[in-house]
């Protein structure tokens, strides 16, 4: 949403069923934006918030679920002048994905090592 968008234009924005949108009027400059993630909840919201806050260029990152009966999550990012909110979001998604890959790798390595108690059946 360009900064020149008037109040009128914002009111006429159609309901977007897409996965990610910027909440109208929240990106007053490229360093800040509130992203609206459709069909996402605390699962992604909280983990993404954490990974964003780990980024040194991020001044503020937080998420909220505006209404419990709507399946969407708002994610607010404010960054330093060195980057933009959208770029930071891309980096956040990448970083969290890398963490997931790492967990998968360590999990598989651990399974292959087999250094744990294995029960064919019966209680622990």
């Amino acid at each position: 949403m360009p900064a020149t968008a008037t109040r009128m234009e914002e009111d006429n924005v159609e309901v977007d069923t897409g996965k990610v949108t910027i909440v109208p009027g929240t990106m007053t400059e490229p360093q800040c934006a509130t992203f609206c993630l459709q069909d996402e909840d605390h699962t992604l919201g909280n983990a993404l918030r954490w990974v964003l806050m780990k980024n040194r260029e991020v001044d503020f990152a937080s998420y909220s679920i505006p209404h419990p009966s709507e399946t969407r999550t708002n994610l607010r990012i404010q960054t330093s002048d060195k980057t933009t909110a959208v770029d930071t979001m891309f980096k956040g998604l990448d970083d969290l994905s890398d963490i997931c890959s790492h967990v998968i790798q360590t999990f598989q390595a651990e399974l292959a090592k087999g250094e744990f108690e294995y029960f064919e059946d019966g209680a622990f």
Partner: protein
């Protein structure tokens, strides 16, 4: 990227056919919680979703039986091969997006035994009576002596129906959850003071330490409270319904997380590439 202190570590403590204990460490609570939430609600499995009842003269109503059928766990090792019905090109359902299971039980009246009270004439209709069209998707029951009871019938009653099992996630209905329970604990000694125990007289007497406490050093009463400390070891135990292996549930959960992130990235790319260019960045 830097993995933030080397990245998360996983240590499997015990593995069983239908459950697994593991420790996830060196990561944030939000990541551990995301794993837990996805295992519970977003790992796809197969479950009966539509039931066409042809004959039902049992004591249970059609909807009662349909509901019971939906709850039966179906083996879902091969669920990736099956499409979601909403993504399929068919109009209602087809072999690409569903598996059919049929059930037909009729209890004949045996006039010789009818008046003999010593003979149990009750026929137990169980998950073993379901006949599947696809061997990879069938009711979970390793123990043939204790299958899942659907309804009890007396002589003369009949039940004939066709079930359509579909792929789904527990976010939509809990019957699709691959797990019966995921236990999740951190900080068994409550060093971080995240728990506030309700006590009558003595906390130590009334609240024993959990089994996971053996993995950590006991609390030193002289140590001052570290208000900057954060949880970093998460003790988890996954118990599956038997529809998938527990290690597969955990691994699948992480790939689902990646899929979600990848999906967001693609969408973000489409939506905002122009916008950022307009800003001159």
């Amino acid at each position: 990227m830097d993995m933030y202190n080397g990245g998360p570590e996983v240590s499997i403590r015990a593995l069983k056919k239908d459950s697994m204990k593991f420790v996830l460490s060196n990561t944030d609570l939000s990541v551990a919680n995301a794993l837990r939430r996805i295992m519970i609600a977003e790992v796809p499995t197969m479950a009966i979703d539509m039931v066409e009842i042809e004959t039902n003269s049992t004591v249970l109503t059609d909807e009662f039986i349909a509901h019971r059928l939906g709850m039966i766990p179906l083996s879902s090792f091969d669920v990736d091969r099956i499409q979601y019905t909403r993504d399929c090109t068919c109009t209602l359902y087809c072999p690409n997006c569903s598996v059919e299971l049929t059930l037909h039980v009729k209890v004949n009246v045996d006039y010789d035994d009818m008046n003999d009270p010593t003979i149990d004439k009750t026929r137990q209709v169980t998950s073993l009576d379901l006949v599947t069209s696809d061997e990879s998707v069938k009711p979970v029951s390793d123990d043939r002596a204790h299958p899942i009871l659907i309804v009890k019938m007396r002589p003369g009653q009949e039940l004939k129906l066709k079930c359509v099992a579909k792929k789904g996630v527990a976010k939509e209905h809990a019957k699709w959850s691959p797990v019966y329970g995921v236990s999740f604990e951190y900080d068994p000694y409550n060093k971080l003071r995240h728990s506030h125990y309700w006590i009558e007289e003595d906390e130590k007497l009334e609240w024993g330490v959990s089994a996971n406490a053996v993995e950590e050093a006991p609390i030193d009463p002289n140590e001052p409270f570290d208000y900057n400390a954060k949880p970093d070891r998460y003790y988890m135990e996954v118990e599956t319904s038997g529809c998938m292996k527990p290690e597969d549930v955990a691994l699948r959960a992480m790939t689902i997380m990646q899929d979600k992130l990848g999906g967001l990235q693609i969408k973000l790319d489409d939506e905002f590439k122009e916008d950022t260019q307009r800003w001159g960045y």
